[in-house]
Amino acid sequence: MSSQPQRWTRKDLLGLRELSAEEINFVLETADAFKQVGTREVKKVPALQGKTLINLFVEPSTRTRTSFELAAKRLSADIVNISASASSLTKGETLKDTARVLEANHADIIVLRHSSAGAPQFLASRVGASVINAGDGAHEHPTQGLLDLYTIREKRGAIADLHVAIIGDILFSRVARSNIFALLKMGARVTLVGPSTLVPREFEQLGVKVSHKLEEVLPTADVVNLLRIQHERQRKEYFPGLGEYIRFFGLTKERAKLLKPDCLIMHPGPINRGVEIDSELADGAQSVILDQVTNGLAVRMAVLYLCGGIATS
């Protein structure tokens, strides 16, 4: 408890890069308390009663949006979902104008998913409401990073000194970036694995190792985090083909034999079964993929409570 900051003072959560290790710990400890709410007879607390939350998803998402929606409902906030196709953004309204309209409707918290990196920063600097980044381009996805850390901490007791392998499409992955920033702050060792087109050496400047040979990394890993191959973002020059990817970087049953017995298998979802991971492994004893979903709810409740619960004026 000694290294804990006494109080949480941020109204926005834009990325994990700007958080201190103490602040990350603060969120994880708060999430412990909110995870327990799910086991109560009444699974709802009045923490954000009277607050209005707007889920502004300019880029499509089902699981993150649903997780935020459920988290907000468990905190008794009122919630409105706005998706890209249904919003005025398709009619040419700028993000800034959309945000001002939302504020004029007395929104207290805006959860933003956007295809452009930096969109949440832009929004946060122009509105008084709390802004939570739910994924911006290939930049950051802070609540996913936090729920991954929470799950590792829950299963392994601590994060420091663990070896975490992040495998797959790092170049286009905001999940990877948020994980890298947070894991390093918490004292973990990180190795990125994938084809050189998707895992360029430049990432080593962040303080991680880069490998293009999965078999060399698996035996020492305490956690493997398999990222989804993002078909929608791929272009031919980066990605030779699924068959070749599976042959070199898919976590097959054969390769999984190289893992330590207590190595955790993680995946942010949605899973491409048979591509990043063998179907049986995804459902196997080492997989914590569904724990990640459950913990995501607790972590998002904690983030909404902390950022949405402080005075903004």
Partner: protein, 189 residues
Amino acid sequence: MSKTRITKETGAIRIFDAEAMRRALRRIAHEIIERNRDLAALILAGIPARGVELARRIAADIEAIEKVGVATGVIDVSMHRDDVGTRTGLPVVRASQLPLPLEQRTVVIVDDVLFTGRTCRAAMDALSSFGRPACIQFAALIDRGHRELPIRPDFVGKNLPTARAERVRVRLENIDDEPDGVWLLKPNE
């Protein structure tokens, strides 16, 4: 009861030293026993952080007096407070820990200082989300007055008339790394 003493350095008035606090908690333990015939149905639920420690001490006193164990718990009120959006910094939320189910049990909420009563109300709401206790009672080491809600404690260590701007400072050895004690602080000290 020890004499109140003004320390020259700070101007703080000492209300309890360690011995006086021990006696006050012992008396609360006796009163809880007197009021609750069925100690097996009792849960002493402390509000973090000092209420948890006080609940533990009262439970130990009851066990020493009656030779029966008493259940204890933790009731965090952060999620049930009524001042959302008005504070500039939030303390960490702790998970509540209560022996469930609460049905047929008597829960004694334990806190260090009773002031406006809002924390007690939040604690009662928090308890309700875990179930429906047969009875809820409230024990406070210090009742300093200035209630803003119709709430009255069942067990009090000391009634301490205060001015609104004064502060009551409670220190517990196991939590604060300072000797047990209660002080009344004048404004801006």
